[in-house]
């Protein structure tokens, strides 16, 4: 296996005295896609937010390429230039057009020449099928388009790793696919990612490894084929069953509509 890119060692995190993450440890290797699943409120978002320093951890340690990125001497700006993150709510900057959104990080944070980044941005937009939207304002885009722009914005920083937090959760079903395809593409190219998702089919397709989080602790960890089809723990089985039920419900609703 390749080198560990990210190591999370025994981290704990609470809000106002209630523990949210307890003694969580995990490793993501270079080129690996880690998928984190678990019931609502189990701490998935908190875990990702701790990794790039949006939340401060209470104890433990996080290392990027062997170097600690938590603790007193941490340089958050440097970490965030290497670890990109995309949220459920896209969070494009509403006062800038798409190109403005894409250029901001590379030209200001990385101080790269504008013309060079612009060319890269156009190429990336083209790849995700949005080249004609380069000068559109975010509010004129559909949810799926916004989320693809958000992905491109994160990728243009050339991060060593991407954190994706339920990036399709706010999308209409027909837009989910166009966004997930982009992520699958990135995975194929060897982008290292930690992904939180409720799309189990997608999770299985994209994951190299799956972590099941419940109540702030890692309950099960394994290869996708094993986790999704033969979970070891009873709790993981129950969790996966809720999706079977939801899929069945959706199907019967659809056939009722027809």
């Amino acid at each position: 296996m390749a080198n560990p890119l990210l190591e999370v060692r025994h981290i704990s995190k609470g809000f106002d005295g209630t523990g949210v993450l307890e003694d969580v440890s995990l490793t993501v290797h270079e080129g690996e896609v880690l998928v984190v699943v678990g019931p609502s409120g189990c701490g998935k978002s908190t875990l990702l937010r701790c990794i790039n320093g949006l939340e401060r951890i209470d104890s433990g340690e996080i290392l990027l390429r062997g170097k600690p990125i938590t603790g007193e001497k941490r340089d958050l700006v440097a970490v965030r230039q290497k670890v990109g993150m995309v949220f459920q709510s896209y969070d494009l900057f509403p006062h800038m057009d798409v190109m403005g959104n894409l250029l901001l990080g590379p030209t200001k944070a990385l101080r790269r020449p504008k013309a060079e980044v612009e060319a890269e941005a156009m190429a990336m937009l083209k790849r995700v099928g949005l080249e004609e939207k380069a000068h559109a304002l975010p509010r004129t885009l559909s949810g799926g388009q916004k989320q693809r722009v958000a992905l491109v914005r994160a990728m243009l920083m050339k991060p060593e790793m991407l954190l994706l937090d339920e990036i399709t959760a706010a999308l209409d079903p027909e837009m989910v696919r166009e966004v997930l395809n982009v992520v699958l593409d990135l995975a194929k190219e060897g982008m290292t990612m930690a992904i939180v998702t409720h799309e189990m089919r997608f999770a299985e397709a994209v994951a190299d490894r799956v972590i099941f989080l419940e109540g702030g602790v890692i309950v099960e960890e394994g290869a996708p084929a094993q986790f999704f089809h033969h979970p070891k723990t009873e709790r993981a089985r129950q969790f996966l069953n809720t999706f079977v039920y939801e899929a069945a419900k959706k199907q019967s609703e659809n056939s009722a509509d027809a």
Binding site: S89, F93, H95, L104, A109, R139
Partner: protein, 221 residues
């Protein structure tokens, strides 16, 4: 109505209007600077400074400008600080306006979604870059209507400058009434002068607000 009177004293009004405008603009510009500092001190919860800003805002907003000016012009000399009428006027207006501007800016900053700041942080922007490129433009767009209202409010407040012997519009009008008993003419010219000052500002501001609204500023993406 005595039109020759009006004609004769129009230059005097024009001069006073210019003075009012100059004092007003200086005071308003300084108000914005003070307001910005106070608002940042509060927004970033800077220890001590934040409490000072809060206390100042309450003090400034809950005392009349006239009282503030009297304090500066008649009170301070008693402790050996003598300021000119113009200095008093500008300081007084800044003292009052700073508090109102601080509140306007604060409402703007608070309207920017927390996730916008996080999105900026996630792009590796420094705190200052994030403020400058992501947060301020959106906060300002939201704050514009309140800031415009403050500018008009403060311009009108300049009418109490005459109380500290500044030869502003109000002063000239009172003077003329005192000297010539031409009350109607003097007051008519006073009203006209204020309208000439304020209407253009008002029109520009409505245009600005409309423009910002259509640009979709301050709305979540």
């Amino acid at each position: 109505m005595d039109w020759t009177f009006i004609q004769r004293f129009t230059p005097m009004y024009a001069e006073a209007a210019l003075l009012t405008l100059r004092m007003g603009l200086t005071g308003i510009a300084l108000s914005m600077a003070v307001g910005l500092l106070c608002c940042l001190a509060q927004h970033y919860r800077l220890p001590a400074l934040r409490q000072i800003a809060r206390a100042y805002i309450e003090l400034a907003r809950n005392t009349p400008l006239l009282v503030q000016l009297f304090f500066l012009y008649f009170g301070l000399p008693k402790v050996g600080v003598r300021l000119s009428s113009e200095t008093c006027a500008v300081i007084g207006l800044t003292f009052l306006g700073g508090a109102y501007m601080a509140e306007a800016f604060r409402s703007g900053l608070e309207a920017v979604d927390k996730t916008q700041r996080e999105a900026g942080e996630c792009l590796g922007l420094t705190g200052l870059q994030n403020l400058r490129y992501v947060i301020f433009p959106q906060a300002l767009a939201t704050a514009v209507p309140a800031v415009c209202a403050n500018v008009i409010f403060l311009t009108k407040e300049t009418s109490v400058f005459s109380a500290v012997a500044l030869a502003d519009l109000m002063y000239v009008a009172k003077d003329l009434i005192g000297m010539y008993y031409k009350t109607d003419e003097a007051l008519l010219m006073l009203v006209a002068a204020y309208l000439v000052l304020l209407l253009p500002i008002s029109v520009v501001f409505s245009w600005l607000e409309r423009r910002l609204r259509y640009a979709g500023f301050g709305r979540a993406a």
